[in-house]
Symmetry: C2
Subunit: 695 residues, 2 copies
Amino acid sequence: MRTPIAVLLLMVATFAAGQAPPQLNLMPMPSRVQLGTGHLLINQSFSVAVSGYRDGTLERGVQRFVADLSHRTGMRLYSTAAKGVAATLVIQAQHGSESVEKLGEDESYELTISESGAKLTATNPLGILHGLQTFLQLVETSTDGFSIPAVTIKDQPRFAWRGLLIDMGRHYIPVDVLERNIDGMAAVKMNVLHLHLSDDEGFRVESKQFPKLHEMGSDGQYYTQGEIKTLVAYARDRGIRVMPEFDIPAHSRSWFVGYPELASTPGTYKIEPGGVYTVMDPTQERTYKFLDKFVDEMGKLFPDAYFHIGGDEVNGKPWDDNPKIQAFMHSHGLKNNQDLQAYFNHHLEKILSKHHKTMVGWDEILRPDLPKNIVVQSWRGQESLAAAAKQGFSGMLSFGYYLDLMWPASQHYAVDPMSGAAASLSPEEKNRILGGEACMWGEWISPEDMDSRIWPRTAAIAERLWSPQEVQDINSMYARLDEVSWRLEWLGLRHRSHEDPMLHRMAGVEDISALRSLADVVEPVKDYARFENVKGAWDFRAPLNRLIDVANPESETGRHFQSLVQKYIQSDYQDHDAEAQIRALLSTWRDNDSKLKPLIQQSFLLHEIAPLSEALSNVGSAGLAAMDYLDKSEASPGSWRAQQLAIADTAKAPQADLLLAVVQPVKQLIEATARHTTGTGPTHEGTVNPDNRVH
Amino acid sequence: MRTPIAVLLLMVATFAAGQAPPQLNLMPMPSRVQLGTGHLLINQSFSVAVSGYRDGTLERGVQRFVADLSHRTGMRLYSTAAKGVAATLVIQAQHGSESVEKLGEDESYELTISESGAKLTATNPLGILHGLQTFLQLVETSTDGFSIPAVTIKDQPRFAWRGLLIDMGRHYIPVDVLERNIDGMAAVKMNVLHLHLSDDEGFRVESKQFPKLHEMGSDGQYYTQGEIKTLVAYARDRGIRVMPEFDIPAHSRSWFVGYPELASTPGTYKIEPGGVYTVMDPTQERTYKFLDKFVDEMGKLFPDAYFHIGGDEVNGKPWDDNPKIQAFMHSHGLKNNQDLQAYFNHHLEKILSKHHKTMVGWDEILRPDLPKNIVVQSWRGQESLAAAAKQGFSGMLSFGYYLDLMWPASQHYAVDPMSGAAASLSPEEKNRILGGEACMWGEWISPEDMDSRIWPRTAAIAERLWSPQEVQDINSMYARLDEVSWRLEWLGLRHRSHEDPMLHRMAGVEDISALRSLADVVEPVKDYARFENVKGAWDFRAPLNRLIDVANPESETGRHFQSLVQKYIQSDYQDHDAEAQIRALLSTWRDNDSKLKPLIQQSFLLHEIAPLSEALSNVGSAGLAAMDYLDKSEASPGSWRAQQLAIADTAKAPQADLLLAVVQPVKQLIEATARHTTGTGPTHEGTVNPDNRVH
């Protein structure tokens, strides 16, 4: 059984009136779930029949579904090609989806499962693909085989745009890593892969028109046009659009290595940290001729209707410094650099339009005089999104979904595109808010650890964008996230399995259990703290081979420990099972430093974590001492508490760009030892913080 | 430090006279190693200079080398493009290698490392690539950074053909899985990837000439011609030839699905288990016209000079049963089916020759009248190889290197192409023995577990084919294999990291530690036992999702336990450290069944391992009881021993196609308790096996 009990207890999400709360491991949560009675058994005679419309997308989807189910259950299962009324699962789509997947196509499906069979219907194969993922998530392992609970699900997405941006400009990500991430996206019903294909540090697509873009604008790591075609087809088969982004006029140094004539500042350019900063020159006719040919080529390579031109973070200094550009601005009545960028975007939009593309850009592109069909992607927040909607522009949210900031899943989960300023929009304006995108910015990722930055947290964002707004229970989300996290590893993602090889490489010894224990309870520093700690200029060529590169953004052990401590305190210290687990963890941590020290000493790469390891042991000791007080129902002396809290506070400081994720619950334990103001233990002198006595 | 002490103690390999035994973690062992004094430090100022010949292969190889070193050390390191005398590592090749890599090209290199710098020279980039791998294996992590011991290595391969066959006919293996295996091959200096591209169960390459081959002859899983080109270029960049195999006239049902006219038996064919057996019809002109066009197309797609036509396991019954074929044989004076196959091969060889390809085939193709330039790949053994060599044919060995037989690395390691009948060949005949190939037959592999069947064992075969024949010490081999195994995981191979996700999927619960403990001490049944246990016909579509599919062919824990027991016994039971480790393992196993039982009960997929889990606990208890006798220097009663040995023998029986890899050492412990014939313990009645008293 896939621990459904725990999930059942935790699920308190609100649902459509009259419906029972589903007790199912589904993520994202469907919009309507009606539990029936009994189960549909899955055994050797399981079969699938496609009745009605069928095409290649649908058939390959069914084939993958059967392979997945077969792999999961360990049974040989076959997709039956024949139309059979006796099939266990009958699939029926009304018609095909668009040959190039379109924004806003019907993605809804209905899935009915009874003891005697299952039926999946949808308007088109996109809904069928989603329904099959739901079916797979419903499979339960049990003592006598596999089964699916009887259930009726009517489901459709809340938002039409549910994306994931991957930035391969800074670090090249091989195609197979992208493909496994597409599999992950499909598993949680996301539908847009946004490829940030160029930035200062690299241009990553083969251009036949302008070969110096990829040849000189990269370190040799780029996607061939053949690879892009394969990737787009792979995504299309899974109901996922692929939108390219070529970030201009800023973030474009890689273009200037091969084509310096496009830059606002004369000179030669290299792919290297530092170097001359410049932006594209929007005043030259040749810039637009170049872009026209470029959009023609790339627009054909990427069939999606949307084309992202970046447009963010333009520093106008190169424009200020160029007299020709200043003269141009003067003669064209362009008052400032914002006007010049608007001039650029206006021309660019015409080029895109000529090639049948709709322009997408970051907040900064927004100007009232641009055509209303453009889409604004907001890294600034719901206010910016609402302002755009009021002016008639469509938009989607990425503020709050930046995966590189290392936030816990709950923090991303709390961000809603329709909250804040967006909540008070008119219905018509609200329709312009298309959805959102999780953003995997690439400054600190490598193919080895990227999965661990994206998953499982992105599944929580996927739920925010798919499920009804009312689905907000954090405990339920985490219980289901833990399940989906394993499912994603089965699909080939490496957000868990990347750890051991990396730890071994760092330690250089066979037994890494002590290093693993530490790695399990640390998290990378949050927001932009890692950048702030870089000595000198950030260098994209830095090898990503420190403990911070292994550590998951959110420590599962830390979260588990936190909830054990809550449980223990809430039980008024009577929950002996929780107590035993807390003590076991604390003891492991207390004893860990002495085991880890030899590894730290003999490996250069581990030196930086020595203080962190000591801090963990100190916290373990402090926690155990607190448990002793609590166990004996004895109040601790105030001076002892002050001392222990000081130890804990020291342990909270970042070390090696890492944070210990278990300090806060230990502080709670220490503070809880004050509960008996007339304890039987010896009292000591020393100042006692009265706050600590309240609990 | 990368546990060099252990390796140092274990290294007793024989080397060229006058040389000190190297204390280095190299695999394969170089042919000559001369240790110097001191170390070369690797720090931020490390740089590489290519002096002399340079080309794309060499430059990309250096770029990968620097990236790997950078990743390992956590330091930003750059390949310097400029020719610099001050570079840490100077690389010098005399000229380029052939544009299409050729069998027998010079692969030698010399690597000299001193405290002040390193120099790597080779005739051509192939040697440079090998030397760079040696360099990477020499890197040691230490307390103050990274270093390489001063050393002079002169190295070249013993055999020119060091291959790995991967069979994707039975189960499709995606390109990225092949690519990571190519990385593994390059790391251990293998140089031929042999793709078994077609078999009864699937035809895996796009054919533009005959599209029904891949369209109807596969389940839709095949390599496009674009993918093949990419793969061949990827391998070429790493000094690896790619040889295609299309197995005919047998093993070719997949061809007949689209082109039944090629078969000896009229009818329609499907990709399915069972079904009509037939072979290609060698009596029709159209067969050869087809093959001529086919070889023309595939010969261009695969530029290698060698083309493998299979030729194995022809069952001539379809020929016997076809009157037209019988009439043909009669009119052409072909006395039997062997003659008919020879007739086929003769024609086929002419076609290959016309397209500038050299024929390679399995033992069965060997007939004296074939041209002497063909190559025989022997699955039958050194006798067959020697017989071929005597007739003037070249050959290579695969007997003894079948990875699907689940042998321990030591067993493969002991197989030498030049042993047995081959040892007594003349020098000229010996020259015809080109090397060998490890064979990863595909009946029971999936992309998920294939790496674990290939690695790390194939590294031992690679050493057999590269290193001097005298390199044979098994302890040294295993010590170095453990190191290289981790290195291969760093390269992206998943022979270790596949386990946890698979175990989780089977168990369906978060805590799989008890299942992991069992998985760590089991091995798949050996040779063809898994086939023998299949009920009904073997079905290539069976999902590979049992514990046997997770279990490594050779249990590292089992090997470790075995050596602990040897150490303990050899110390006359005085080695208390070994004793403690033995007791800890035995206790874990004794207690494991009670932890694992709940998981087994609730997961259908695990039911079959219940007896195995019980057996492990019984063995743990028996071993602990034996330790108690040994600890007290007390002889055990004969009846007790008989009873315990019976328990151990029961535990040796295969369960769920798995073997417990720790039974034999436990039996040794039990038998050792007989050592004091006049023990102080109570004596019991019962028969005592006198054999047990001898020890």
